[in-house]
């Protein structure tokens, strides 16, 4: 009950501080602009003036859509870090936590409440942006990616993973430091994923292992790759997947994350949230 109170408070803060309004306006603007772009994509012609083939249009649309979703995923990760990093530390530093923690409230309820509130914001953001973008793409080009629900689920997972990390660091370090650390780790994981893919294609066990380890330590990149997989036309996967051109291409994925990896991701989040509870419990206010 207290955790839900904190969750509602977290969501209300995002609304009152106009974070939701700013994201909504920018999202509508971006989706409008991409809609205009996709509209033009569907009018492309060959040099002889004939319309491009439907398969070419589908391929081009899927590639641009991957890029657009990459932008949304980056905005999601950055926003999640920016919002989660000061979520606990700012209340500890300002003194807001003093009067709240003196109430019959367990520290785990604070962590759980913050996490639930932030996770709810991520779910709403991803669901709204993905649905709107895919509707616009479908209306303008007729292309519907093979896994729209999977796409949203992977993006939500990516946002929740990086948010959980930022929330953990927020129990010990200032919002600024927690944000920088979380972002550096996020981009390191991305680079690690790219390197792992190169190692995989060219048979370098060491590089592949480094990539795997980075994905296990911070599963954001693997989840991003899952969302790319859900966006690609099936034929494209088969054709490009057979060549070495796929090596290190962060916008092409031949296979989705394994069930084992997804289970590890759930465990990772549970472990990080548990560690956050422990860290805040040990923290003197």
């Amino acid at each position: 009950m207290a955790a839900l109170t904190i969750a509602r408070l977290t969501i209300r803060e995002a609304a009152r501080r106009r974070l939701l309004l700013a994201l909504a306006i920018l999202t509508v603007l971006v989706i409008g602009l991409t809609g205009w772009g996709f509209q033009h994509l569907s009018t492309l012609t060959n040099p002889d003036g004939t319309p491009i083939a439907a398969s070419e249009l589908r391929l081009a649309t899927s590639q641009v859509l991957v890029l657009v979703e990459f932008m949304f995923s980056a905005v999601l990760a950055l926003s999640a870090v920016v919002v989660a990093s000061p979520a606990i530390s700012s209340e500890l530093e300002s003194g807001v936590a003093l009067s709240m923690f003196a109430r019959p409230l367990s520290r785990y309820q604070v962590v759980l409440g913050k996490w639930l509130g932030l996770a709810a914001l991520i779910v709403v953001y991803v669901a709204a942006t993905t649905a709107l973008e895919l509707v616009v793409v479908s209306l303008t080009t007729g292309y519907v990616p093979p896994g729209p629900v999977g796409l949203a689920a992977y993006l939500i997972g990516e946002g929740i993973v990086v948010m959980s990390l930022a929330l953990l660091v927020s129990t010990r370090l200032s919002g600024m430091t927690a944000g920088v650390i979380s972002l550096v780790l996020f981009f390191l994981a991305w680079i690690g994923g790219v390197a792992g893919a190169i190692g995989d294609v060219f048979g370098s066990g060491a590089i592949k292992n480094a990539g795997t380890i980075s994905q296990l330590l911070l599963p954001t990149d693997a989840l991003w790759r899952g969302s790319v997989y859900e966006l690609e036309p099936v034929l494209y996967r088969d054709v490009l997947g057979a060549t070495t051109e796929r090596a290190g291409n962060p916008f092409f994925v031949q296979s989705p994350p394994s069930a084992g990896f997804l289970a590890w991701t759930v465990c990772w989040v549970v472990l990080i949230v548990s560690f956050t509870v422990w860290s805040l419990h040990r923290r003197e206010v």
């Binding site: 408070l9 009152r16 807001v96 003093l98 009067s99 019959p104 003197e284």
Partner: protein, 318 residues
């Protein structure tokens, strides 16, 4: 909480508002509390006095479970300090009072009603009552970020009053208030005492403490230097006289009653009970002295506080 040598009792024997036993807190090599032992009975206004860095706020945080002691024991309302259920019966105004600036005053109070576990049916009355008590009724819907520091401190006091607490801990509750606000706060504290609520008051404002506290403790370097009722703390007072014709016999008569000093033409006899003053004057007159004025004198809390702190500092310098 460090365990006692024997199995610690889950409930203190007397259920005092606050009881501490050799409570200590170290931050690395720095000692914030060095064996704090004191009892605050229920229904009293208790002043907790000390210079900056004497461990007052640390003690409060330990009592509320915001911080963990290095050693010793503490009970609040008869339960171990930090006990979750007990915290629903304690109100707290921190020295560093900050509330969610993006909420309105009524919303902050509503949030604390939820967190304190107050029944939903009571919220409206509790919020209205708290706003009225601290004089913020007209600002119920204004965002806290638009409040002055004094208004925010008033709001914090309102938050501490929610849910009819049995103990209210106020850490420097008037630091941002004007004289009117201070008088209002004193009235609120008296009202709390009248309804049986204990008030633990951390304050630098010794004049205020003297006006409203039943008992007080003076702490320095994390230890209690003196504790007791204000009459006990301030001693039995004395008397000062303006007189002429004081003979050796007269001087001896004064010295017999207490310690004698001369200050600005007044003879001051410390430690004289009020009931003994007529006899003292009669003895003086019998020695031939002419008495023009007799006034009771009493040490102020500030004088007593400074004397205690100076004595403690001198002890450490030795």
């Amino acid at each position: 909480m460090q365990a006692a040598a024997a199995a610690p009792p889950p409930v203190s024997e007397d259920g005092a508002a606050v009881r501490t036993l050799e409570l200590t807190k170290h931050y690395g090599a720095s000692v914030a509390l060095a064996g704090l032992t004191m009892v605050v009975p229920r229904g009293e206004v208790f002043g907790f006095l000390g210079p900056n860095g004497s461990g007052k706020t640390t003690a409060v945080k330990l009592l509320l479970g915001l911080s963990r002691p290095t050693g010793g024991e503490a009970w609040v309302l008869g339960r171990p300090a930090g006990d979750r259920e007990t915290r629903s019966r304690v109100g707290y105004l921190p020295e560093l009072f900050r509330y969610q600036g993006w909420l309105s005053a009524a919303e902050v109070l509503g949030l604390h009603c939820r967190l304190a576990g107050i029944g939903r049916a009571e919220w409206a009355a509790q919020i209205a009552g708290a706003l009225s008590t601290v004089g913020l009724t007209g600002h119920a819907d204004a965002r806290v970020e638009t409040f002055s520091k004094g208004m925010q401190q008033r709001l914090g006091l309102g938050v501490a009053l929610l849910g009819h607490p049995e103990l209210v801990i106020l850490d420097e509750p008037t630091s941002a208030l004007d004289p009117v606000g201070r008088a209002d706060t004193r009235a609120i504290i008296r009202h709390l005492r009248d309804r049986g609520c204990a008030v633990f008051l951390n304050s630098h404002l010794l004049g205020e403490v003297e006006q409203i506290c039943d008992r007080a403790a003076v702490v320095s370097d994390g230890r209690v230097l003196a504790i007791g009722g204000l009459d006990e703390l301030l001693g039995s007072g004395g008397v000062r006289l303006r007189l002429t014709g004081l003979t050796e016999a007269g001087r001896a008569a004064l010295s017999r009653r207490g310690s004698l000093a001369e200050h600005n033409g007044w003879f001051v006899v410390n430690g004289v009970e009020a009931a003994a003053v007529p006899e003292l004057v009669a003895d003086l007159v019998a020695t031939g002295a002419r008495v023009y004025a007799v006034e009771p004198v009493r040490q102020t809390l500030e004088e007593r506080f400074l004397a205690l702190i100076e004595a403690e500092q001198a002890r450490w310098q030795r």
